[in-house]
């Protein structure tokens, strides 16, 4: 059951990858990468249950966090042209 859900989510991530490749402006690409990141969080959580190692949830939490920081950094750089 979790196995099939993981496969569906991978297919959805490939669908979003189209937008990341085509995306007319840079914001579109970052949006698509952000969406792929949220899918990766679920994939990590699901694979923790597929392989019966619930410790994977720590990694899912960390990944969600890094994804957020990347988006905030992009926003800052886009507006100010610098990171600090």
């Amino acid at each position: 059951m979790f196995y099939w859900a993981a496969i569906i989510i991978i297919l959805c991530a490939m669908l979003v990858l189209y937008r990341a490749i085509k995306g007319p402006i840079i914001c579109d690409r970052v949006l698509a990468i952000n969406a792929i990141g949220t899918k990766a969080v679920i994939l990590i959580a699901l694979s923790g249950y597929i392989f019966e190692r619930p410790h994977f949830l720590d990694i899912a939490l960390t990944y969600a966090l890094i994804n957020f920081i990347a988006t905030i950094a992009f926003q800052k750089y886009r507006e100010m042209g610098r990171l600090d």
Partner: protein, 107 residues
């Protein structure tokens, strides 16, 4: 029908709904005409689908420490995902991206 098989059915339904919502979000990101309208599926449907799948994992797990960790992840997602969406919208607005009007060509 015993208790555990009912739980498994609920897990399956929630898992299906979550996958469906994520699929809708992906279709929306590909199909909508401009950047601002693509933010809507990325901000709302994606976080809801994520939450659905994580809730189904919670029910599968029963009440253990992993459940609490899953609840923390869901709360984190609902705080962080709208903020990321807002940050992207703000970046596009600062960069002078204009919204698509009905009747224009898709971008």
């Amino acid at each position: 029908m015993d208790h555990s098989s009912i739980a498994i059915i609920i897990v399956g339904i929630l898992l299906f709904l979550g996958c469906f919502l994520i699929f809708v979000a992906s279709v929306g990101i590909v199909r909508f005409p401009d950047f601002y309208s693509r933010l809507h599926p990325a901000g709302k449907t994606d976080s809801m689908g994520q939450a659905m799948i994580l809730v189904s994992l919670m029910i599968y797990e029963g009440f253990t420490l992993a459940t609490i960790k899953l609840i923390i992840i869901v709360l984190f997602i609902f705080i962080v995902n709208p903020t990321a969406t807002h940050a992207l919208a703000n970046a596009a607005h600062a960069g002078g991206v204009v919204p698509w009007r009905k009747g224009e060509k898709k971008r």
